[in-house]
Amino acid sequence: MAAPGPGEYFNVGSHVSCLTCLGQRLQGEVVAFDYQSKMLTLKCASSSGKPNLYDVILINLAYVSEVDIINDRTETPPPLASLNVSKLANRARSEKEDKLSQAYAISAGVSVEGQQLFQTIHKTIKDCKWQEKNIIVMDDVVISPPYQVENCKGKEGSALSHVRKIVEKHFRDVESQKSMQRSQAQQTQKDSTLSS
């Protein structure tokens, strides 16, 4: 474990690359470093590709074998902004609740398709939750198994139609994905038969 010596600190803003003892390579821009706990925080571009988002990686340098400074910076880093603590606390709470509600749904024995549909809807409409085996979207639309378009019930309106569209699209995507998999499988099969 190559812990940085007393003299080795990381300048905020410099680019660094690390190799963990578990064989994972991580790199990014230094955000913070705490010598005493040997914690190094890097940030890099978000894996999802969205421009405003970042991936933040907290690395325990005690478990890192290599540290390479790719790009050192010495200029003063930008000042830190004030943080809205309540907002953060709210976010934490709501995320936790979301996760738990999903877990309950899963425990309730919802089918895989239902779970997948839930995930899909959740990507678009955050306000969806499980209720037994039904998906409740925006407290207005209820989707019951088998979670098809016609299973969407609720107050007639823009919300309902929107949800229906999402469901429809979801299943189309699933279908297309399946068909692609199938075709791929067939392709490989063909290949194998051909080759054999």
């Binding site: 010598y35 907290l58 010495t74 830190l80 902004a81 953060l88 934490a92 936790k96 738990l100």
Partner: protein, 823 residues
Amino acid sequence: MSMKAGGNRSKPGGGSAAGAPAPGAGGSGGGRQNLGRGRHSGKGPAAVIFNGVYANMRMVHVLTSVVGTKCELKVKDGAVYEGVFKTYGPECDLVLDAAHCKSPEPSIGPRKEDIVESIIFKASDVVVVTFKDVDLSFAKKVSSDTDNFTDAAVSSRINGEHKEKDLEPWDGGETHNSDSLESLDTDVSNGWDPNDMFKYNEEKYGVMSTYDSSLSTYTVPLERDNSEEFLKREARASQLAEEIEASATYKARVALENDERSEEEKYTAVVRGEREPHTLGSRENKYIPPGQRNREAMSWGPGRQNSPRLAPGSAGPPTPRPGPHDYSPNSGADQRVVNGGSSHWPSPCPPPSSRPPSRYQSGPSSLPPRAATPTRPPSRPPSRPSRPPSHSSHPSYPSSSSSFSHHGPTSPASTLPKRMSSEGPPRMSPKSQRTPRAHRVPPCRTTGIPPGVDLISHNAPGEVPVTTPSRSSSSGGTWSSVVSGAHRPRSPRQNSMGGASPSSSSLPPPQTGSAPVETVVTPTSASSPTAACPAPNMVASSTGDAKECRVQETRQTSPTANKENIKPLESTPSIPRPVCKGPPSMAPDHRKQIDNLKKFSVDFRLQSSSNPDPAFDQMMTKPPRDPADKPKDLPLDKSSSVAREGNEEGVVVIAAGTAAGAPAPSSANTNTSKPGSPAALSPSPSAPDLKRSGLDVASQGVQTTATFSGAKHEEKEEKKEAVQDQVRKSTLNPNANEFKPRFNTQPKPANTPTPPRPQGQPSPSIVVQQPPAVYSQTVCFPQMYPLTPVSPGVQKSIIWKSPAMYQVQMPHMTVSQSKPYRP
């Protein structure tokens, strides 16, 4: 070292940023030992020493920014936990909420059994934590969140020494390059012409206007078909339009709307030069304080015959009856009447001095147009006094009282306006001063009736302005009609005619009856006093009467009384008496009403007080029954039965309840509350029955009665008086414990608070609970509540411990709770 971050930890606070980690970390290492030193630094609250990672600004900032995001934490043995990042400790221990161990194969999601509410990971166990798709500015304080512009907010942004800013005066610059800044002020074009606007938009922006000037989308055009029917209707329509547009109401409204005068002109500017020049009337419009009114009236013109005679401070010598408006200023050129009475009969109204002249127009002058707001002095100065004999020729009062001949100079002399008996007005003046003008008018108007009468009676003596009778009658008529409720709002037509004809037509018989009578009476008397000598005496006597009457009238003043001119009426000795009759004749009507109301209230009271009795009797019968019942049910039954009986008195119920319920407590009191019933009640409840329930019953009784009486309040409000009577009679001790408000002490079925259980089977091992409250209490941010080692009671978080190698890891971990980490 600038570890002293002051209040705001997020701020870098000077040099702590660059290269801070090391010194910060180094410092923080020693910081713990230096805590004592830090505390003794003597800087006070500004110097807060943070431990461990908390001292590292940047670290704190970034770790705080990612709170609440999903993260994956890899521990040193390779397992990955996915959860919501909750908080971190000074030693950089990390807390994950709703964490589950991620299984290698792709699955839908964790089941709830797999989810651990909270796990604490020691820094030394953590290899990598990945926060994906984080918005680092999520929690950035935005101006919309806070009030950035308050002093507090602005100062909070200053990190460091707060010194006074040097203020400099703003300099807008001498010249403006663009004229646009100034041109708006001077621009009078009222904007663009619509067609220009449309053209411009079309050319510049390509925006086509859909404006249709015929407004066809809003209205259907009228088709001319030139048929007879159409032409007829058209003619009728234009006739109506003409009528409307010619009406004074419409004109007044439109005038208001189109009034182009500035606000200042309208309301506050001094009116100059609009008055007709009046010779003697220089003081006619001036406001004279009450204390000076009589004096002034008195002091006017020794030449005036009447002034000396107007003994009791009669301020208004014969004032033209315009009455209320009239006052001392006396312009009458040919009149030697002090009160500017010119050719008007002195008005029995309160001395003109009591009223600001400007308010009302004198009798002779035509009434101000109705449209003029009463609160504004009419633009036309009430030059009543200044209009000499024109009165006689006054056209605006086509009064029917042709009987009034010219009002000669002598008449005013002989006739002192009742107003002279000035007490009335001065007495009324405070009131009149207090109230808007309209108020003043009524008193005058009421006296106007007598004046009217006087006028009528005085047709002989003087040239009673034609308007007078009409005025008086009108005023009288209006008054009595008001009293009798037949008052009509005056139409503009009325105004022009001094409201004479319409109101006079509405004059109720009594009034007319009285008038002629008085007419009969007065001429005789009027003819007699030719000299002023008797007048004063009469006046004096009439003063008293007038006073009286006026006082009465004041009471009866009706706000609807118009302020139109009431002709100054000459008051003769005889006048006061009829005058007094006049108002009293009206007063009775009004008084009758008052009496009726009083009677009604009395009756009402009586009835209500009698009401409880029957109910009470019923109550009496009830209690004997009650003891037989179970004591516990007793109050309830009784109250319910009482309710059925319709007994509204809470007091009675209480009496019953308490009497039944509590033999001991305050029974004596309750017994006395109702003469008969407690006596009946007390013996009835058998002591043994009640004793054991005793307090219980009492409490229940009170309880139910409380609720019961509460319910009853809505029902019978009108019986409140009876209740109050009874309450008054009652000797219940209101401070007794029984009467203290009791909240529901009934044992409810015990509600064991069960936390909301999620559906499905609860996990046998770890209960995954969802008490968000717990989490909100444990504030996760270092600067506020440094994380203390977990106390299991607070939240069910476990400390991750590295499982023994080569063992099944998951189950152990879930089961072991609050076990310390054993590496």
